[in-house]
């Protein structure tokens, strides 16, 4: 899993999510099977369940939204424990919850088994516009540099007795943000100069050729294909 070329994993996760999303929500057993599929992938990749569950917390805001749905949706109502809930809303909540959780879990697995940098190589290989890939890779490279700059500016502010205590101080913070923007912009210009000096002419040279063999592709695509079978059965039943 960890050793698979990144673009095969990306393609597999994307296909899996598409299949999951297009499964009819009434086929509850299908979602159970999907979860089993993901669990076996996680076992295969030796991603501990705890890690996976912890990362799933990112989904919480969507869960909150899903929980609201049965209360606010229109249509036929049923009584559950004395609460009047909408049937449509219940199905909708289930739909969001099941598909969302499976999608997030698949992405977490991808992220757990692939380095950020490899992901970018994969996206490049999958013909994502090169400009987007370049922007993303610069974000990775310069994120730390800019955070550090921000930290130094904060220390400089505080060293001169400034403390952000309320609305009155927002102006100062806004000016700092502006200064940070200008500094980053100027750094961008200097980086561009350095790139041009080393022969950059609009596109990144290919340093690591990522290629996948047929076996690697079929290994990666086993997950979405299995999911597709489940999905098709779900539609025909």
């Amino acid at each position: 899993m960890h050793g698979l070329p990144p673009h095969t994993k990306l393609a597999a996760v994307f296909a899996f999510v598409v299949v999951v999303v297009s499964t009819p929500r009434e086929a509850m057993w299908a979602f159970g099977l999907y979860a089993v599929l993901l669990a076996s992938v996680a076992r295969h990749a030796r991603v501990p369940a705890r890690f996976l569950l912890k990362r799933l917390l990112i989904e919480v805001p969507f869960v909150a939204f899903a929980v609201l749905m049965p209360f606010v949706a229109e249509g036929e109502r049923v009584d559950v424990l004395g609460l009047s809930l909408s049937v449509n809303g219940l199905w909708g909540a289930w739909n969001v919850l099941a598909k969302g959780t499976l999608g997030v879990a698949a992405s977490v697995l991808l992220a757990a088994t692939t380095e950020l940098r490899e992901l970018l190589l994969g996206l490049q290989r999958l013909k994502l516009p090169p400009l987007l890939v370049q922007i993303a890779s610069f974000m990775i490279r310069y994120g730390d540099v800019i955070t550090d700059e921000m930290r130094r500016m904060r220390i400089a502010r505080e060293s001169r007795g400034f403390e952000a205590k309320g609305v009155r101080h927002w102006g100062v913070l806004a000016k700092s943000a502006g200064a940070l923007f200008i500094r980053s912009y100027e750094r961008g210009e200097r980086v561009h100069l350095a790139m041009v000096s080393r022969g950059y002419a609009g596109s990144m040279p290919v340093i690591d050729e990522v290629t996948a063999s047929r076996a690697q592709w079929s290994y990666a695509l086993a997950l979405p294909v299995a999911a597709l079978v489940v999905c098709v059965v779900g539609w025909t039943l």
Partner: protein
Amino acid sequence: MDTVTASPTASLEVSGLAFAYPDGHQALFGVDFSVARGERVALLGPNGAGKTTLVLHLNGILTGGAGTVTVAGLPVGKRHMAEIRRKVGLVFQDPDDQLFMPTVREDVAFGPAAAGLKGAELEERVDRALAQVGMAEFKDRPPHHLSFGQRRRVAVATVLAMEPEILVLDEPSSNLDPASRRELADILRSLDVTVLMVTHDLPYALELCPRSLILSEGVIAADGRTGELLADEALMNAHRLELPFGFDPRSVTMGA
């Protein structure tokens, strides 16, 4: 080796170079000098003397003024830009500007890969450049996890990987602690390449470069042996160049 005039073996020849920025500020007023192959030359000058402007002309990032720059017999201009940029290795002052790729290895590979190298040949080039600056074991590290001195050395490697005719360093010793400074000096001395070093660090210039140029107010004000220039108090004062406290260039005995 000191006052070398234009010759067929010159790595770099600058003649009559003048340049004004679009806002009207004129930075260079006719600069002439040449650097022979294998020489190490320091370019000294106070802030605002036009040093950076001059450096940006050497690989054609700034053009459009009067005069010519020739690198190993090739005129700097639109026609040979790719070749010129391969031949002139600029090392910028802030390594964070120079190292823009996610790992050291990819960064060093950037220049040669842009020139069309790939596969084992590219890998070999990267390994050799990193070995030259003693950073081979940091190959797969992200640049922002290295110390400042290490980043500066990798920055030098990114340029060495392009096998340049001339290495141009902008303030190579700035922000380095004494040990990193000495390590960089050892590396620069060990390289078999022409070096033009832009610096305020006069002892460093004396240590590394037998010959110096003084750029002041957009012209070359002096060109000669570094030790003699630094010892010429009238000249130094005239161009806002000051030696560090307690440093006497006459008392320095150079090592091997």
